[in-house]
């Protein structure tokens, strides 16, 4: 089955991930800019990082026949440094022009501080000014419900096209508010700290498949890109058809990401050929 991995931090992973993803049907991965595990001190460090995910990483993925796209942003944790955030934002338009850059992300909230909120607003405004898609991170664990509510409040005050905004890491207690407000919602599958493959399948059954994305993120922490394939297996074993799975795990990413003309992978339809009797 053809699969899109909409949120994947390739720079933290080995080539073996690419090889195995290719063997399991992954056609494309999308890499948002994120936290490196430590706070970077210089805007230039971000710019080199953006070059890595915009220029180098596509060449690594291409060796396995996988398309690689990226997003650029200052992540919420480092948004606590307003001066650095401002300097990086000033340089970001150059990267938004890169042929594989799909938009601004992942911006969002971590502890929902004033600096984070200011950064989120500035990122979304930059994205709208440049006609870009937006990928928004919501907080982990105990901060998630409050942080998601705050993200929605911040966005409500901005002039945006909600269909071009993807709010990620939703779980059972946050997905409805995101969908009801007209945004795309992403479920991130982690072995321990976020949604699990079974719970994601439950959410798909409860809320339907419209404007829902599933990803496994996979970064330098405890994570596994193949939780996405686990979810596909769980979804299929519950009796959902191959085409229904394709709609969720391939076509929905194509529909959202295809709003950026750089994304040229089209939704697919499975059709059976008529067999003539021999």
């Amino acid at each position: 089955m053809q699969i899109i991995q909409p949120h994947y931090h390739a720079i933290a992973r080995t080539a073996q991930d690419y090889e195995r993803m290719a063997m399991s049907g992954v056609a494309a991965v999308c890499e948002p800019a994120f936290w490196a595990g430590f706070d970077r001190r210089y805007p230039e460090t971000f710019l080199d990082y953006f070059s890595q995910i915009a220029d180098f990483e596509p060449t690594r993925a291409a060796q396995y026949g996988i398309r690689h796209y990226c997003w650029v942003a200052v992540n919420p944790k480092e948004a606590e440094n307003p001066e650095l955030t401002r300097d990086v934002l000033r340089a970001m338009p150059e990267f938004l022009e890169k042929p594989t850059c799909l938009g601004v992300g992942e911006t969002g909230l971590h502890k929902s501080t004033r600096n984070e909120i200011n950064s989120l607003q500035a990122h979304v405004e930059l994205a709208m000014t440049h006609g870009q898609l937006v990928l928004i991170h919501t907080p982990h664990l105990s901060d998630k419900a409050h942080g998601t509510k705050t993200v929605l409040e911040v966005l409500a005050g901005l002039d945006i096209d909600r269909g071009r905004v993807w709010i990620d890491h939703v779980e059972e207690h946050t997905v409805k508010s995101v969908l009801d407000a007209g945004y795309w919602a992403g479920m991130t599958l982690y072995p321990v700290t976020k949604c699990t493959p079974r719970r994601a399948a439950d959410i798909l059954e409860k809320y339907g498949t419209e404007r829902l994305l599933v990803n496994s993120s996979a970064d330098w922490g405890p994570s596994d890109p193949f939780t996405l394939q686990e979810c596909i297996l769980e979804y299929r074993r519950r009796g959902h058809s191959l085409q229904e799975a394709v709609e969720v795990f391939h076509n929905n990413p194509c529909r959202f990401l295809g709003q950026n003309p750089k994304w040229d992978i089209a939704p697919i339809r499975i059709e059976a050929e008529e067999c003539e009797p021999s």
Binding site: E172, P191, V192, T193, T196, R198, R199, D202, E205
Partner: protein, 80 residues
Amino acid sequence: MLTSRQVLDTYYLEARRDLLEIAALFDRYDAAVARDGEAAADESKLVLLRRALARLADPDPAPAPAGDRTSALLNLFAEI
């Protein structure tokens, strides 16, 4: 051996994940009952899971040997 604090810090998130999986199982069952219009003919597995959770929720269980909730649950699950 781990200190009491280390035990909580080490295993809290995994236990949280496992409890969420159990909660999701109960939600999944209720959704299926609502969809099908009827409960499973035999709900004994569901009843056992609820009894197990009630056993775990008791901070001062008796008469099982102190701390051995695992044996108590294994004996409980042996009923079916």
